[in-house]
Symmetry: C2
DNA sequence: CGAATGTCAGTGGAACTGAGATCC
DNA sequence: CGGATCTCAGTTCCACTGACATTC
């Protein structure tokens, strides 16, 4: 029988390990400025696509709409986003990134980008692109 | 400005998403027979490399020494592994896979393999190998 | 009415920490 | 003695669920 290392080539295991390190790298990078990954995700989603309702924002950014509440409370508390009732549908809140929020996003952007670089440090530029392509395919809705 | 989708091409995000789906797929596959991913990891590590102490097993399989205790309790409880004090060093326990454990591993193996297949269903065989190669490089000790 | 929205409380799993007991 | 090993208790974080009030 071959001395196969079942664990070390298992895709699900490799994904878990890589994701764990990536998560940590990002968290560590953002921790210095008191931000967490959802702060970046929410700000990026808002700046890239404009104001939305909370449920729409949850869908865009991937956060759960329950957990979004706490994140928005933090971000509005420091003035990075504004949350106002939608006059057209009073069930909804319209969430908008403020100018301070856009500046904050730019700041976080460099930190996140540096973290990505640290995560993929062992890969060439072409390999990084390929990895992103493969992962995008894997993650794509069936 | 380009309408760039910062989030959708972010490696750390893609890794997190893919890992989450993979984790779920494996958990779901194993849940049918009452196993969890650590059961497979521990059995595979034991069968592939032979008996070890708990700390060695923890290192091999990636589980924490603290959490390993509970997993071993479950596996010894149903007779898949044996845990005996090491006569040469009585601080240690020697953990061994029983014959029933080897049969159990074979059973879990097919379930786990099927889960991997479901995870990577959108990729060709060559792409899967490439993904494993890239992830292995990313995860490799620096 | 049913359906959607925002909010809150809570669950379960996993990674991780700290401390004790035993033994080298 | 210092250091390693096993064990237990507990913390923190995150994805996720369920329920509720309000509004469409």
């Amino acid at each position: 029988v071959e001395g196969a290392d079942r664990l070390h080539a298992l895709p699900s295991r490799l994904l878990g390990l890589a994701a764990l390190r990536a998560e940590r790298e990002v968290a560590e990078a953002l921790a210095g400025t008191g931000a967490r990954k959802w702060h970046y995700a929410v700000l990026a989603a808002l700046v890239d696509h404009g104001p939305v309702s909370q449920s729409g924002l949850a869908e865009r950014s991937g956060i759960y709409r329950s957990d979004l509440v706490a994140v928005l409370a933090e971000l509005t508390g420091v003035g990075y986003v504004a949350r106002e009732p939608d006059p057209a549908d009073r069930r909804r809140n319209v969430v908008t990134a403020t100018e301070a929020g856009e500046r904050r996003l730019a700041e976080l952007e460099t930190l996140v980008a540096a973290a990505q670089d640290r995560i993929l440090t062992a890969l060439t530029t072409a390999q990084r692109a390929q990895l992103v392509r493969l992962l995008t395919t894997v993650v794509a809705p069936r």
